[in-house]
């Protein structure tokens, strides 16, 4: 089929390396369509989220992932493929903060809630009035020194609403509950300690009577954990560490990992050099999903520390993997390690989409995970068995996943270590895909994955552990991946284990994705374009240039007037945008843990500054 090139129309290409320019220009002229466009779901796949984890859409947006199944799918269809081209701005709102805005706005009833990056201000906007004026703002006043131990910009990935309260975490390690109506603080619990390098950037999840939240600090030798806090008073009910003895990881009689590599006593101690697990990372800073029927939560664990793998021989359990846990007790039910003995900072914290589908003729309860190491995993979420692992981006650091043993097959040519420079490793430390969450539409059976196309050079170096300072031990410099474009937006056909279509972007796609029943997919670019593309073909239907690069998570909601609205935070930053928010100097190829080298021209493309944009049909 013929296709024009809507994705890049009228956009300047800035500062790309000469040797890749030709290939990139070809990309401008026609974006790649790797498979046949899907008009509907593949026959026989019967793929949909479990109803208990994805109840019927009430038009609100009460948690960043939309629902416990983490579909980021809205059933609203007033805005659709045929009219989205007429979308226009309904109102905007400046957050007053010039750091990376990664959060999803929330809409509860007739109020919108926004949490900003540090200083983590929570705004409530009244959607019933013209221009959505501010109802109140809540300032938790986190310690400014926390900015010095946040690895990759001072971001916050959002708040969550439950039972009349808004819950969120602050950069300096507090979990906070605020009355959604009045903006008064209900409770505030300090759970992290910045003096050992702990920060919190994730969006909590509320399951039953517990608020689940984990720490960040994998670049500072922080031992990872997830805690459950009581929704009523904020006291800590349980803590599950990602390293250390079984009783601290909450591994007991119920723990039945599927693969032999994850079976054994105290692997969180024995798979490390003596005491290294105490400063070994495995931080829980990403996404949590929940299956109410199985009564299990699913959460990933971050990279092992330090990055230099020579300093921590062993599989480094339970880092760079995924746990299924009982939400009431924290007790682990199974674990699977995406990347044993991680060598490249492949955190395992991405979103997991819970789906029920026919897999090779059998109905299975699965969990789909586009992972940092470059593979889309399909796991049986009752057991942790890997059903499929296929690459969705450029990967040469590994050669696939052995489905017999479950183990990632590493590529010895890309093995890093002290004093050794290894070139052209794909994907980068930031992964084929980082934290930016994908969206799933049951109407197409496709998973919409915003991601990067980057490779890197690495050299391991010696590093001293000094509490509260970085513990990385790796010189990194990143660069554009094959083809020269740095970002991709992939529609992944889960049932057929291959991409349905792919869009190329100049910069990494660092925003979340949203898909609606109008068959429209929304995402943002780091130049600041907010785009609507066809969920079936990827054709660009509409775009709007916001004031700064977009790394936030778009949402859809039904306003008090009964109409559909689309909202997104603009405001560049995050690890990819740190060169702008931190005013870094890219003449040093290792700035921002090597990311600045791949983003040399971002300062010419956008400026920092947070603003909310809300759109509707005329």
């Amino acid at each position: 089929m013929s296709r024009r090139s809507p994705a890049f129309e009228g956009e300047p290409v800035i500062g790309l390396r000469c040797k890749v320019l030709a290939a990139f220009t070809a990309g401008l002229l026609s974006f790649a369509v790797l498979g046949p466009a899907l008009g509907q779901q593949s026959p026989g796949a019967n793929i949909a989220p479990p109803p208990a984890a994805a109840p019927a859409d009430d038009g609100q947006w009460t948690m960043p992932a939309k629902n416990y199944a983490s579909t980021r799918y809205s059933e609203l269809s007033e805005i659709n493929e045929s009219n989205v081209g007429r979308l226009q701005v309904a109102f905007t709102f400046s957050t007053g903060v010039a750091k990376g805005h990664e959060a999803a706005p929330l809409v509860v009833g007739a109020t919108m809630y926004i949490v900003t990056p540090f200083p983590n201000i929570l705004y409530a906007l009244d959607l019933t009035k013209p221009g959505a004026p501010m109802k109140w703002k809540f300032e938790p006043k986190p310690e400014p020194a926390a900015q010095g131990v946040a690895c990759c910009d001072v971001v916050n990935r959002g708040a969550v609403f439950s039972n009349g309260r808004i819950f969120f975490a602050t950069l300096d390690g507090h979990a906070v509950a605020v009355d959604a109506e009045t903006g008064e603080q209900v409770w505030n619990t300090k759970i992290g300690n910045i003096n050992i390098g702990e920060t919190i950037t994730m969006a909590p999840l509320v399951v039953k009577d517990k608020v689940l939240v984990g720490n960040s600090g994998g670049e500072l030798g922080v031992r990872g954990w997830i805690k459950a806090l009581d929704v009523d008073d904020g006291h800590v009910v349980w803590t599950a560490y990602s390293t250390g003895p079984d009783n601290e990881v909450l591994i007991g009689a119920e723990f039945k990992p599927f693969y032999e590599m994850d079976q054994g006593r105290d692997l969180g101690v024995t798979s490390w050099p003596p005491d290294a697990w105490k400063i070994g990372g495995g931080n829980v800073w990403g996404w949590i999903s929940y299956d109410p029927e199985l009564d299990l939560i699913y959460h990933g664990t971050g990279n092992p520390g330090p990055w230099n793998p020579d300093l921590r021989p062993g599989d480094n359990k339970w880092t760079a993997g995924i746990f299924a846990r009982d939400p009431d007790t924290g007790s682990a039910h199974w674990f699977y390690q995406w990347t044993p003995h991680d060598q490249h900072d492949y955190d395992g914290i991405n979103e997991q989409i819970l789906l029920d589908m026919d897999w090779q003729g059998q109905p299975r309860k699965v969990l789909v995970r586009p992972e940092r190491n470059g593979y889309v995993y399909v796991l049986d979420r009752t057991t942790g068995e890997v059903l499929s692992a296929k690459p969705f981006g450029a990967v040469n650091s590994s050669k696939g996943v052995d489905l017999e043993t479950g183990r990632l097959i590493e590529n010895p040519e890309k093995k890093t270590g002290t004093g050794k420079v290894v070139r052209d490793i794909c994907p980068t430390a930031s992964g084929a895909k980082d934290w930016q969450p994908s969206a799933f539409s049951p109407r197409t059976g496709l998973l919409y994955i915003p991601h990067s196309n980057l490779c890197m050079d690495e050299q391991g170096v010696e590093v001293n552990y000094i509490a509260g300072t970085p513990y990385v031990g790796m010189n990194v410099r990143m660069k554009p991946g094959p083809g020269g474009h740095r970002g991709e937006f992939t529609a992944w056909d889960i049932a057929n284990e291959k991409p349905a279509w792919k869009l190329k972007e100049n910069f990494p796609v660092w925003s979340g994705a949203l898909v609606t029943a109008g068959d429209v997919v929304f995402y943002g670019t780091m130049e600041g374009w907010f785009k609507a593309v066809s969920a079936r073909t990827g054709e660009l239907l509409w775009q709007f240039k916001t004031s700064s690069g977009i790394i936030g998570q778009p949402i859809a909601y039904r306003g008090p007037d009964g109409h559909e609205y689309i909202a997104v935070l603009s405001g560049v930053g995050g690890w990819a945008g740190a060169i702008v928010t931190g005013d870094l100097d890219p003449r040093d190829a290792t700035a921002a843990l090597g990311f600045a080298n791949a983003m040399r021209d971002l300062k010419d493309a956008t400026n920092a500054g947070g603003a909310l944009y809300v759109f509707r049909l005329p």
Partner: protein, 179 residues
């Protein structure tokens, strides 16, 4: 003949010895613990119409001394400065190789920043790093923005090159447009 050879040998020794004279340093540095307590203003404004001045007797001793600069470079990794500031381009902390200084770019200001910390994330290394080594670090940080003599600044790394070696880095203030 013999005297000629002797003279030649003497010359061979004398020339290098004379060449070494530029590099003087105190072989009995300050004791390991304790840091100098001189106050350093972080602003160029003071009531009365004059700029606040700063000077420290140690500054000159360290600022353009090749030994101290190379020690500063080694310590910059050892104390994890590079973890936040990378090899000068910045990351968790600000870039040090440009010409933008939040709390002052003199060696005295940088010494005070390392010693006392700063409110938005810079830790205080007081009593963690001996004072002379803080001066060495401060001197090296100046070199990152091209503010050290090319004869004294460190030359190329044994490691992966993140940027041209310090003795080849341009002075950030004359670089023109910020990269």
């Amino acid at each position: 003949m013999k005297t000629r050879v002797l003279l030649l040998m003497l010359l061979c020794v004398a020339i290098p010895v004379a060449g070494c004279e530029r590099e003087e340093r105190n072989t009995r540095p300050d004791p390991a613990l304790g840091s100098s307590e001189q106050g350093v203003p972080v602003t160029t404004l003071a009531p009365g119409g004059e700029r606040p001045s700063l000077s420290d007797t140690k500054a000159a001793e360290f600022e353009n001394n090749a030994y101290h600069l190379s020690e500063g470079k080694r310590l910059f990794d050892w104390f994890n400065c590079s973890g936040c500031h990378a090899n000068g381009g910045g990351g968790m902390g600000p870039a040090l190789m440009d010409d933008k200084w939040i709390y002052g770019g003199s060696i005295e200001s940088i010494h005070a920043t390392i010693r006392d910390g700063r409110p938005n994330g810079m830790p205080s290394f007081r009593d963690r790093i001996p004072d002379d080594q803080i001066w060495e670090l401060a001197a090296f940080v100046r070199a990152l923005s091209g503010n050290a003599s090319k004869a004294a600044a460190p030359s190329r790394n044994d490691d992966m090159m993140a940027h041209p070696s310090e003795n080849r880095l341009p002075n950030a203030t004359t670089l023109g447009k910020s990269p």
